[in-house]
Symmetry: C2
Subunit: 562 residues, 2 copies
C-alpha cells in the first residue's frame, strides 16, 4: 500500500522559495576588503539567482549540463549555488587547491560547459586552457571592475550578463535525485574522484544540520562560512544558513586570519565554521598583538576537517567565551557523518570523560547509520575500545564516483568504506583513530602519500620511498618522505623537492626528506608506515642524512581548506 | 544527470535504529494512575517493537496489510507506531471520538485485519463487531491484567503475544512512499476521509519539527505528548521525540486535567503539546484550589488545533513561567503547515504587533509552500489584509483520500485546498480567519454542521435547519442549531436533541436550538451562516423559542482531542 502524499521533490529551489518569502529582508554580507563589505538581502539575491539562470540559458546551458566555478566565498559564488542547480544543471566547484593538471582533469571529467571564475583566478584559467579544457564553451568573469585583458574566449562579464537578463525564471520541477553539485576529492592514488550530490542529499543534509542537537543554525544568528565554497559545498553551510534565514557572512577573496577576526568584529558574527587550522591561526593572530580586537559577539565555532586539539578548544572557551565544537565528515557524505552534541547524560561525567566526547567526531547525524568492521567485514562492538574500519550508510552518502573504476571498491554491501579506522563508544560517540588509506590531511586538504611515493620512485637515483604524515603545529599534519637511494648515487633533498614540484601543488611537497639505509617493512613486505611514524615521533629513526625545507613552516603554499 | 548518492529510503525504522543506539538509556514514561508510572528505555522499547512485529507476523499480518488500534497514549500504543510501519504494514489509529458507525466505517474502509485495543475499549469493540467489521481477523487486548471475558474472537493478550515472540526482527527495506499510517478526518458531509501517510512524509515532518525555529525538541527535554495518538499521529510528536532522543511522557488511559498537572510535577516535564482546550482546562484546574502544585519544570507548551486566546497564553507566561506557542496544521498535512517562531525582526515591534504574530498560525515550515487565492483561484498578495483560501503544497501534504470520490476536489493544480480562509502578512505569518467548509471545531475535533442539518431536516416537523458555530469558553466552538418548523407543528429542543443522539456522537449534539420564523439567507438562497453567527453574537437573532441543553456545559461527552 502506498502513501497518498504529494510527490513533491526535495529541491534546492524549494528552500530558496521559502527563504525569499519569509526572510526576504535578511542579508548576505561579503567582505570586499579592509572596512569594505557588500551586503544585500535574500530577496535581492533571489532576483539575481533568476537573472543568472536566464543568463546561463542564453549561454546554452540546459538541464543536465555542468557549470563550473573557480571562486572564493562571496555572494556571486553563492548565487551560482542556487542558479545552476535550480535550473537543472549541475554546479562543479573546482577546488582552488588542486594542482593545475588535476583541475583540468576535473573540468574535463565532469564535462563542464561554462566556467565562472573570480578575476584573481584569470591566469590560472588561462593556464588550464593551455593544458586543455576543450569542453568549456564560455568563460564568465566575476569582478567589480571592467572585463580584464585575457586570452580566454569567449569571455563574459558576470554583471553584464545579469544586467541583460530577466529576473523572471520559473525553476523546473526536477527529479530530486538529479545532480545538483559535483565536488572532487583527493584519492589514495591517481586523479581526484568526482562526488555527485543530488538535490535530495543536500536538502536532507541541510535539514539535519539545522536540527536541535546538531549544528542548529538559527534565524537569529549571524553566521560566517569560512570553509571554502569550492570544497564539499562549504560543508553545506550556505544551504543550511539560507534554510534558517540566518544572516550569512562570506569572507571574500583570499582571506587571511586577520580578515576573519576583523569581520567578526565588524559584522558582529555570532557563529562560524572553519578548518581546525584556521581556528588555530585566528587564535595565534589574536595572541600576536591583537588581543584588543572585540570578538565578543562570537558564541560558537565549528572546527572541522580534523579533530581539534583540546588546548585550542579550551583557549577559545576561556579567553573569548567561544564554544568550539566539531564533527566528522567527508566530501563523500554531503559532508557530515557525525556531529557533536552534549547528551544530558554527560552531566554525570567527570571533566576528562566529557572532553573525550567533545574531542571525538560526535554522534551519527539523523538518518546516518555507522558501523565499524574488522578486516573480514564483521561488525565490531560499540565498546569505545575496539578499533575497526568505519563504514557509513545514509541518503547523504555516495554510492560511487563519477565515471570512475574506483567506484567498485567504494561501497561494500551497501556501506561506504570511509577508509578511516575508529571506535564507537556505547553512547554512540565515534572517534577516528587512524586512516586505512594512505592519505595525509594537511590544513584540512588531502595529500596522497602514494602519489608522492610513486613520483619519487620515478627518480633515477631513488630505490625506495615512502611518505608519512607527521604532526604539525599549524597544518596538523604534513608529509615527510623517507628515501633509500641506489648504491653509489647522491641526490639532495632540495633536488627531490624541486623534482616533485614539477608534478604537484606546492603544499604537497614533503617538509623533510630522511635518507635512510632501509625503510622498515611489515611482514608482508609493505612499508610499515605506522612504525615509521612512531620512530619519527620518538626520534628512533636514524637517517643517513636529513634535509628540511626551512621555508616550509611559513610557506603560504600550504592549504587553508575545509 | 543523476546524483550518485545511496538510494537510502526515509523510513521510520531508520529513526528507531539511531535512537536505539544513541539514546538507548533514555526513557518513555507512561502514567498508569495516581502516583503510578510505567517507565522503560528506548532500548527495551525497541526490543518489544521487534517482538510485536514477530507476533503480528504470526497473526498473519504481511507487508501492505493494515493493523488498527483503539487506544490512548501509552507505551504499548507507541510500540505499534514502530512495529506496524516497521514491518511494512500500515497503522490505522481509530479515532476514539468518532461515532461508532463511523469507527466501523473507517475499519472497513481501511481494510484493517487486526484490531489492537485498550481493555477499556472492549465494549466499544464488541459493539463495532455487532455493527459489522468483518475484515478484522484478530483482536489483541492491551492490558496489565488477565484477558477479560469478551465476545470478541479470536482474541489475544498483547503481553502474552510479545512474551512468546522473538526479539529479533529485521525491518525490511521498504519504498519510502509506502503507507506507514492512516488517520481519518471528519468531512464537511458524509463519512470521515482517510489520510494515508507515507514513511517519507512522517520522517520529513519529524525532521522539520525538530529544526531550530520550529518545535525543536531537544534530547535534554522531558516531553509530554497529550494530543491523542489516535488523532493525526499525535501531531507527529512521538516520532519527533524519538528522533531527538528526548524523554517521552505519555499520559495514559483517559487522562483528565488533574492527571496532566500531576504528571508534570511528578516527571519534571519540561515541554508538552495539547489542544488549546486542554491548556485552558489545566489553567482552570490550577486556579481551582490547586495553586500550590509545583509545575516549575514546565518551560514551554505547544497549544494547537485552534488559535489559543492571548489571555490564556499570557496567563501561563505570567503565572507559571511557561511560554505558550502555536502553529497551524491539519490531519491532511502530517499535520503541521506552519509553526510560530519569533523572528529577530520582531524585537523592533511594539507589544501588540508581536502578539498579533504570536497568536497567528505562524510561518510555513521548511519544505512547505503556502498561498492564498481568490474565488477564481488567482493568487493574492501577502499584505496581511487580503483574505483568501489557504492552499498548501509540500511532501507532507495529501494528494487525495483513501478510495474516496472527494479526492477529486481536494487538490487543485497540485495545491491542497485547506478549506480555511486566511491572510498572510509580508513576513509570512499566516492567520486563519474563517473556514470555507461548514465545519465546527469543538475542543480540537471537527463537527460537520451539514451532517447535523441534513439529519435535522429528516425530522418530519423541521422545515429548515442550519447549524452554526458559536464561541465557547471551554471547547472554543460549539454547535447551535437554528430551526424553522413546519406550520402548525411543535417539537421541543430536547426532542430534537434526542433525535440527533441516535445518529451522532454525544459531543456533536448542538448545545442550543433556536426556533426561528425564518433562517437568514444569502442572495444565492443559501443559509447566511456568517450573518447568523453575528446575530447570535450581538443578540440580534429573535428566536420564537429557545432551548438550551443545561447539562451541555459540564458534559463529559465533549471531545478533548487534537
Amino acid at each position: 500500500m502506498q502513501g497518498m502524499i504529494m510527490d513533491e521533490p526535495l529541491l534546492l529551489s524549494t528552500l530558496l522559495w521559502r527563504t525569499e518569502r519569509l526572510y526576504h529582508d535578511k542579508t548576505i554580507v561579503t567582505r570586499l576588503g579592509h572596512d569594505r563589505y557588500h551586503s544585500y538581502t535574500y530577496a535581492e539575491c533571489g532576483q539575481r539567482v533568476r537573472r543568472l539562470a536566464n543568463a546561463l540559458t542564453t549561454l546554452g546551458v540546459e538541464q543536465g549540463d555542468r557549470v563550473a566555478t573557480l571562486a572564493w566565498n562571496h555572494y556571486r559564488h553563492f548565487e551560482t549555488y542556487y542558479a545552476v542547480p535550480g535550473m537543472g544543471a549541475t554546479l562543479h566547484t573546482v577546488n582552488l587547491r588542486l594542482f593545475e593538471e588535476q583541475q583540468a582533469y576535473t573540468l574535463n571529467h565532469a564535462g563542464s560547459k561554462v566556467l565562472i571564475l573570480d578575476v584573481d583566478q584569470l591566469s590560472l584559467a588561462e593556464k588550464l586552457v593551455e593544458i586543455g579544457i576543450p569542453g568549456i564553451e564560455s568563460f564568465v568573469i566575476m569582478t567589480d571592475g571592467p572585463l580584464p585583458e585575457t586570452t580566454l574566449s569567449p569571455v563574459y562579464h558576470y554583471e553584464e550578463l545579469l544586467a541583460a537578463a530577466s529576473p523572471a525564471f520559473e525553476f523546473p520541477e526536477l527529479d530530486e535525485r538529479s545532480a545538483a553539485a559535483i565536488c572532487f576529492t583527493s584519492a589514495t592514488t591517481g586523479n581526484p574522484k568526482g562526488v555527485v550530490y543530488s538535490h535530495r542529499a543536500l536538502v536532507l543534509q541541510s535539514m539535519a544540520l539545522n536540527m536541535q542537537n546538531q549544528l542548529g543554525i538559527r534565524e537569529q544568528e549571524i553566521w560566517m562560512a569560512i570553509s571554502p565554497m569550492f570544497h564539499a559545498n562549504a560543508w553545506c553551510v550556505p544551504h543550511a544558513a539560507l534554510l534558517a534565514g540566518a544572516t550569512l557572512v562570506l569572507p571574500g577573496v583570499h582571506p587571511l586570519e586577520a580578515d576573519y577576526i576583523e569581520t567578526i568584529r565588524d559584522q558582529r558574527v555570532t557563529g562560524m565554521n572553519a578548518a581546525v587550522t584556521v581556528g588555530s591561526m585566528m587564535r595565534d593572530y589574536l595572541l600576536d598583538g591583537h588581543d584588543d580586537v572585540d570578538t565578543s559577539s562570537l558564541q560558537r565555532m565549528w572546527l572541522g576537517g580534523q579533530a581539534p586539539p583540546r588546548g585550542l578548544m579550551e583557549w577559545w572557551g576561556k579567553n573569548r567565551g567561544v564554544t568550539v565544537f566539531t564533527g566528522y565528515g567527508m566530501t563523500e557524505s554531503s559532508p557530515q557523518v557525525c556531529f557533536y552534541s552534549a547528551k544530558s547524560s554527560l552531566s554525570d561525567l567527570d571533566e576528562e570523560s566529557v572532553w573525550r566526547r567533545r574531542t571525538s567526531g560526535g554522534l551519527p547525524i539523523p538518518l546516518m547509520r555507522v558501523k565499524i568492521v574488522d578486516e573480514a567485514g564483521e561488525e565490531l562492538p560499540w565498546d569505545g575500545n575496539v578499533v575497526g574500519t568505519i563504514m557509513i550508510r545514509s541518503p547523504y552518502t555516495v554510492n560511487g564516483y563519477l565515471d570512475d573504476p574506483r567506484s567498485a571498491t567504494a561501497v561494500i554491501d551497501g556501506w561506504f568504506d570511509t577508509g578511516d579506522l575508529g571506535c564507537i563508544d556505547p553512547d554512540g560517540y565515534v572517534t577516528v583513530k587512524d586512516r586505512a588509506k594512505d592519505l595525509i590531511k594537511s590544513g584540512g586538504e588531502w595529500i596522497s602519500s602514494i602519489d608522492l611515493e610513486n613520483a619519487l620512485m620515478t627518480h633515477p637515483h631513488v630505490r625506495e620511498a615512502t611518505v608519512v604524515s607527521v604532526p604539525h603545529e599549524k597544518w596538523l599534519e604534513r608529509p615527510v618522505a623517507c628515501v633509500v637511494l641506489n648504491h653509489s648515487t647522491t641526490v639532495t633533498g632540495a633536488e627531490l623537492s624541486d623534482f616533485l614540484q614539477e608534478r604537484f601543488a606546492k603544499w604537497w611537497i614533503p617538509d623533510a626528506f630522511l635518507f635512510l639505509a632501509d625503510v622498515p617493512k611489515t611482514s608482508m613486505g609493505k612499508f610499515n608506515k605506522k612504525l615509521i611514524r612512531e620512530l619519527i615521533a620518538e626520534g628512533g629513526l636514524q637517517p643517513v642524512e636529513e634535509w628540511t625545507n626551512t621555508s616550509a613552516k611559513e610557506s603560504s603554499a600550504a592549504p587553508i581548506a575545509s
